[in-house]
């Protein structure tokens, strides 16, 4: 059950699921009607990706699991998402900064997975990469606009980038699962994405007249292995409430 491929699929699925859950919290409360709709599209895309990854993971597990048992009946220590995506929404600037760093990384991940030796994984990546390319275009564009916009928006964006920045380190740290995925040709070495990611992020932040935070400092990690921040169990408590209080019911 706990094959490396299964773990790998959970990581991909949980990232999309948890971020989508966070974005869903904004629905109906965005800063402008058009922006609200755009962000909800983003949430829907991620939710769709999560369902594909988790269904594939459930297939791999083969013990009667499905997307919903995986989403609703695992505890926080069993979730494999990176810490970045579980961070609370904060202000809209915080949400955008988190989204921008994630999109820039996710689009690189999916591009690598297009070449996966695993056809099912490559197929999901092919669908998802188009969606994420648009997300990245949108979040980059907004970062540039808001960085340049007013003194207030500049300060808010800079503050948001600084706050979320430490969570990017984890994205590029490989472990035994990654190594196994590299060996079987299914996955890639996350460290290899870092230069390209940093170059892109730097370029956008420069254009936005925002500073790239200094290297080093606090480097929180562990999400991929199931060691999360305090935020995740609360997020799950909310998300899973009905499934937990009505065991076995179907909806």
């Amino acid at each position: 059950m706990s094959s490396a491929r299964y773990e790998y699929l959970l990581r991909l699925g949980d990232n999309a699921l948890i971020l989508s859950q966070r974005l869903g919290e904004w629905c109906g409360k965005g800063p402008a009607l058009e922006e609200d709709m755009a962000l909800t599209n983003n949430a829907l895309d991620l939710l769709g990706q999560a369902r594909l990854w988790l269904s594939l993971a459930a297939e791999e597990a083969g013990d009667g699991a499905d997307e919903d048992t995986l989403a609703y009946l695992r505890d926080d220590r069993e979730f494999r998402n990176v810490l970045l995506v579980e961070q609370p929404n904060g202000s809209y600037a915080d949400t955008l900064a988190r989204q921008f760093l994630f999109d820039a990384w996710s689009s690189l991940v999916l591009r690598r997975l297009l070449a996966s030796s695993d056809p099912a994984i490559a197929a999901i990546a092919e669908k998802a990469v188009k969606e994420v390319s648009y997300h990245l275009r949108r979040s980059s564009d907004l970062v540039v606009r808001l960085g340049d916009g007013t003194a207030l928006s500049h300060a808010m964006l800079q503050g948001a980038i600084d706050k979320v920045w430490p969570y990017h380190h984890e994205l590029f740290i490989g472990d035994a699962i990654d190594a196994e995925m590299v060996a079987s040709g299914i996955g890639f070495d996350p460290e290899h994405l870092k230069d390209e990611w940093l170059a892109y992020v730097r370029e956008v932040l420069n254009e936005a007249t925002l500073k790239v935070p200094a290297a080093g400092g606090w480097m929180p990690k562990g999400g991929k292995q199931g060691l999360h921040s305090e935020h995740l169990s609360k997020l799950l408590a909310e998300m899973q409430t009905l499934q937990r209080s009505h065991p076995g019911a179907s909806w």
């Binding site: 402008a32 009607l33 058009e34 709709m37 755009a38 599209n41 949108r138 564009d141 606009r145």
Partner: protein, 94 residues
């Protein structure tokens, strides 16, 4: 109140190769964002493959009071329509 996003008119070309059609309006700070917003608002159900946007204030429209002199004269020109020329049924290809 001071910083309203201008209003844009949105035109979408559907999959079937027809001309761009007016589908509605939205607000956006500039043209690029108007296209993005149009994508997120007006193509959620696969409605299109191409988007045009134009600022609403840039549209010049004919005046309704001119309706009679602008459009009524065309009504008298039935010879512009194919049905004006009845063709013998037995002749093909016309």
């Amino acid at each position: 109140m001071k910083n309203q996003w201008p209003l844009w008119e949105v035109f979408i070309r559907s999959q079937h190769g027809l001309a761009h059609r007016h589908v509605g309006s939205l607000h956006a700070p500039d043209a690029t964002m108007a296209v993005n917003n149009a994508r997120d608002v007006y193509t959620r159900r696969n409605e299109g493959v191409s988007i045009w946007v134009v600022k609403s204030i840039d549209i010049t429209a004919s005046h309704p009071d001119d309706k009679a002199e602008l459009f009524d004269p065309a009504q008298a020109k039935v010879y512009r329509h194919p049905t004006f020329f009845p063709m013998p049924e037995e002749v093909k290809g016309l």
